[in-house]
Symmetry: C3
């Protein structure tokens, strides 16, 4: 059951990578590589920090969701493109699932609470960050228009805190994932956003990327 | 003998990194760093996933090819620039060598066949991907105009399949590397290419990188 | 005492990451993530290559400097922006500290001298490189207008050479860090720079980034 949720999370993230590949005019191989990186990258980084063989390399079943995402984007790009909202909803679901499972995995490997929360965050946002870095664009993660990392941070911190007082189990994880999901969706709906990096900064003074 | 081939592969890849540094106006230190990353990056990522000390750090002889590439590009940039075709040929040779040696290394470390094929691909295309990511440009790997990852995938998969039925050895590896090399060269010559990420996508509808 | 210096280095580097986040209009979460990546990324990569749990994940105190940098940039962005020179001085201090502590850490883990020097360089320049890669801009490291990697290379090589002849200790490290710092500052002051990647290259012939 946990595996099914995990694979669904990989699929939703991979979908966002394959869609980006389609928008940028990459070929189907780029779609597969970018989708895999988005869906599996966060967990691979977490496992490398933990010093264990990355799950994505250990168990081939994790490669099926990116393959499915490639097929869906190839045949249904038009319809999928129009459904921007469902994609954001799926991505929010992946975020909620990954930040909780990532924190739990880290705790199970004996990491301290702060590191476990960090690795939960890494698992949740790492894939999307790698997607944007490889696709050569500004990370969506840093977009000041809504909340993305903050719900994931909160979720990973909650999991860690509950673990410290002995509350564990799949239902608790599901509840925290649902909370992260809800906060992400609400931030999109109501344009919640975090303060800018600098209090005094305003658009006219921010500096564009240097001319290239 | 295997080491000589390996070092040649590193040299060809490093050459492409140092040439890019020259084209972008970086200094000789950038040439060394970008060349090293291109020549050694794929193998380092593979070894980190395998959980072993990266070969490039374990054996200093691996730093000689990037140094040689820096010297060649510094003194012969003009001539080298004009020989775009030889560079592509050398790069194809590196691709063929690395995807096979990468898969074999993974199999020798007891990875499952799918993971071994994946790590062969990673070894083959990882360095070039890191080069483009660090040099801040769209990955050549995703260029829909020819085949790059696909021959490497095929080569790594063949090595893994042959290994499963007990066929191993340096001649087999050389044959697979030659096949990957040939497919890459033929794809350049005849403009073979993979389908786009989306069936319905056509140039006018692909989205450029957002203004920055 | 070594820890205090280390944390100061993290703080100076994190400051440059958070300032970049402010200039690019990212939010306060982006400021924290980019600052952490800059301050801690080089050491994390070094520890992953060494095969040990990254210090930044092992000891939560390493997260305080990035937090402090976020606060400083949030409240004092205007003044901080005007003090471009102090920032460069702080960054040079971080560079000197990190390339020496990085090389020492690698030697203590039994790496060969060449690998230790490489890992010292990685620790010194890795965080800034990750900052620029994630923020989607050309790496400052490759800027041909001054010296950045070269002093760090020299410092890491000196540490390794001294270690080989049995000279160790915090005062020696401090002296080497001071030398790296001085060379970096002098290169800024007198516009020292390394040769271009290609001898025959001149500005009119360098190729801009491709249009996107």
């Amino acid at each position: 059951m946990a595996l099914v949720f995990d694979l669904l999370g990989v699929f939703f993230f991979a979908l966002s990578g394959s869609l980006l590949a389609a928008r940028r005019g990459f070929d189907i191989v780029g779609s597969l590589l970018l989708g895999s990186l988005t869906g599996l990258g966060g967990g691979v980084v977490r496992d490398i920090v933990l010093g264990v063989t990355p799950t994505a390399f250990d168990d081939p079943v994790y490669l099926l969701p990116p393959l499915a995402a490639v097929v869906v984007v190839y045949f249904l790009h038009g319809p999928v493109r129009r459904f921007r909202r469902p994609i954001l909803v799926f991505d929010a679901a992946g975020l909620g699932l990954f930040c909780t499972t990532g924190a739990v995995t880290a705790l199970e490997h004996g990491m301290n609470p702060v590191a476990a929360a960090l690795l939960g965050l890494t698992t949740g946002v790492g894939g999307g960050l790698l997607r944007d870095v490889v696709a050569n664009r500004d990370p969506q993660l840093f977009d000041p228009g809504d909340l993305y990392a903050l719900p994931a941070m909160l979720g990973a911190a909650l999991i860690t805190a509950f673990w410290a007082v002995g509350w564990r189990g799949v239902w608790l994880e599901a509840a925290v994932a649902a909370l992260v999901f809800a906060l992400r969706i609400l931030s999109l709906r109501f344009h919640w956003h975090a303060p800018h990096a600098a209090r005094t900064s305003h658009p006219a003074r921010t500096e564009p990327a240097p001319p290239r």
